[in-house]
Amino acid sequence: MAYSPLLQDLLEALRCLPGVGPRTAQRMAFRLLEQERDGGRRLIAAMQKALDEIAECGQCRMLSETELCWICSAPRRDASTVCVVESPADVIAVEDSASYNGHYFVLMGRLSPLDGVGPEELGLHLLEARMDSGDVQELIIATSATVEGEATAGYLASLAHQRNIQPTRIAHGVPLGGELEFVDSSTLSLAISGRLSLRED
């Protein structure tokens, strides 16, 4: 390919981003060099600062540039409820649902016995320390609906159980606007086994 060495380096560097193949990398590079030199400089500065300053929250392991993230340090959130998720993107997803006002814990992965990822590899001691502190009353387990997510949930539930903390698992069910006919049978069977009573108290 007839790229200059610098251009070649740039193209290869861009390809570390998700969804960027050779073609997209070339479009991005040409755009930056032809029309967006200012934008490119802003990008460099923002990236530099973010990479230097963003680390994990000391309490929940969410990405944060402060020792405690904005969620853990918000005064009006309920610290007695901790929602365990697999990744920072999951925190944003739950936040976007606007239905939760507690704290989080980000696992940065899940138990995957066949890949050799066990409790030690996940670094669960931070979560255990949090549960040992005594202010957690409920542990909401929001790991993914895969067999690995299920294994993780079972393990976390036993950790919570040992400490007299109520473990709960988010419900699996029919998506809104979904017709039963088109829901896959595994999801539907979970939806039926986790059904809710409609009787008013």
């Binding site: 895969t146 067999v147 036993s158 040992q162 896959d184």
Partner: protein
């Protein structure tokens, strides 16, 4: 194996999945007619792909695939039954069985009988009180299907049936031979070996002996490769309440 192959509607269990590229999945699959195979499921990780709910371990499937060489492409997958829901110890045991198959089966060696044993095992793992016996039966069947049968029913020395009260030593790749001593590495009473051979797991002594015997034998055929699921399982159990 360079010839293109096309297989239609073969029963299958997914043993393991891995992310592949942006939206695809790499699968280890166990089938009766083609044994263990590696498949690529293109687009299976797209948000709306119907395959996402199907391509999971412990879901009974029929699948079609085509391709040449070691890695073929999944064409179609359908669920054939309700599947088994495994939890906690049952789930951990399921991962363990999957790892055994991945480590010990050569790709594309047909194993129809072992497939039936594996399907039966999953049913057992859904019932906590049957996990241990289910695993032992499966391990014994796995060794037999691989051609490494334990040969516990008779003495390897003179092919005489075992004497219930005699002590025997188990020797790898040979079988059991009578010995005078009562304790030692792999010395068991004839009655215990006969119970293992018959798959009679009512006695605790039999279950313990079988676990020791099978672990030793499997480790030998794993040729020093550590089972990751065993390590993770131990770590998981060690922080459990001692209720079991």
């Amino acid at each position: 194996m360079a010839n293109p192959t096309r297989v239609e509607l073969e029963p299958a269990w997914v043993l393991h999945t891995r992310q592949y590229r942006e939206t695809s999945m790499m699968l280890e699959v166990f089938t009766p007619g083609s044994g263990r195979i590696g498949l690529v499921a293109r687009g299976a990780r797209r948000p709306k792909s119907p395959l996402r709910a199907l391509l999971r371990p412990f879901e009974p499937l029929v699948i079609s695939w085509s391709g040449r060489g070691d890695l073929a492409t999944l064409q179609k997958a359908e669920r054939t039954g309700p599947g088994v829901t495994l939890r906690d110890a049952g789930l951990a045991a399921g991962f363990y069985a999957n790892e055994l198959l991945i480590r010990l089966l050569e790709r594309r060696d047909p194993h129809p009988l072992l497939f039936a044993h594996y399907s039966a095992l999953l049913e057992e793992l859904a019932r906590p009180e049957r996990i241990e016996s289910g695993l032992r039966n499966f391990e014994i069947a796995l060794l037999r299907e691989l051609g490494f049968g334990l040969n516990l029913g008779y003495s390897a020395q003179d092919h005489a049936p075992l004497d219930e009260d005699q002590n025997y030593e188990y020797q790898l790749e040979r079988g059991v031979v009578p010995v005078a001593m009562e304790i030692g590495g792999l010395v068991f009473k004839g009655s215990v070996l006969l119970a293992i051979d018959a798959g009679n797991w009512t006695e605790l002594e039999t279950r313990r002996a079988a676990k020791r015997l099978l672990r030793y034998t499997l480790d030998y055929y794993l040729e020093g490769r550590e089972l990751k699921t065993r390590k993770v399982y131990t770590a998981m159990l060690s922080s459990r309440p001692s209720s079991d």
